[in-house]
Point group: C2
Chain length 199, copies 2
Amino acid sequence: MNKIITISREFGSGGRELGRRLSEELGIAYYDQEIITEISKRTSLSEQYVQAIAEKRPSFSFPIHIHHSFYPGINPVFEHSLSVYKEQTNIIKEAAEKSDCVIVGRCADYILKEYKPLRFFIYADMDSKMKRCREKAPEGEHFTDRELKQHIKGIDKGRAQYYEFYTDHSWGDRLNYDFCINTTQVVIKEIVPVIAKLC
Amino acid sequence: MNKIITISREFGSGGRELGRRLSEELGIAYYDQEIITEISKRTSLSEQYVQAIAEKRPSFSFPIHIHHSFYPGINPVFEHSLSVYKEQTNIIKEAAEKSDCVIVGRCADYILKEYKPLRFFIYADMDSKMKRCREKAPEGEHFTDRELKQHIKGIDKGRAQYYEFYTDHSWGDRLNYDFCINTTQVVIKEIVPVIAKLC
């Protein structure tokens, strides 16, 4: 069975960078944006649209039991969210079958549970997450501290809702992970060779 | 500054064994029962009594604001708990000054925060904690599954109350630790050389 490493992460914790560097350190495949591109190809939805609805809980503009409702139409965004998740599941399983790999986010820890992945959860305190976000902010982004904090909390709330919708487990609950790593006072680049020893 | 490693752990997670083996692997001092013995010497309380009140929140048979109350006497167990904690704090700081070391439990992560310890939290799911407890149970201990579960939960509840009383932080809150390690499917002996690489 291939060596599968999944990285769940709080926004701003440096988890994505850690995942990418870890794959380089170990010399194994890394899946992140490639998954969006592949979903886009398979569903004929634009990458931008897939990006917008991936890792978000489906939106219910119609009642939850949509197939049993008396509404004449079906909410297309809801349908697309389910299709995207389905394709994402297929792609993630294909990746796991293909070779050793690191997969960031996307419920991969749950989707691949039969492959016994090594599951990391990366977190940090709010100040250091804000600092990381400021350092990586696109030009022209001008959040106040309060807005940035709300932004970070909002993204993690979305990730939690997404994870819970599809897995029925709590995102961030330590029992869903093998190692939880606090990156508050850590330079990601420096910690990766050490983390690689755990894999 | 010496290398200080603190191990907080759920009851039955194998955290104590992990701490002991880690100190052996790293060839550094290990403090656990020695702390009780030393407190006993310094306070002239029996080891058995110190053991019974250490790592427990002081018991309030009298009002919390005991020094401002109108009660004529002072609850001796409450006083002893505070003395034991005070001596424990001194002993833990002396240990940290003396040499590299591993310290299990006893709010050491908080007491030694100025020494920037590497703080581990060891946890596992309930089934594996019950299994570990059964394997290490003293002869003659016959808990039903339900009783054992209650016993484990009760001990961890006590540890949480103790930690929160003295540190004003939440025991088990991942932000208080650098690494949280799930020992559910782990043989402690096998994981220790890997954990040592993190130190």
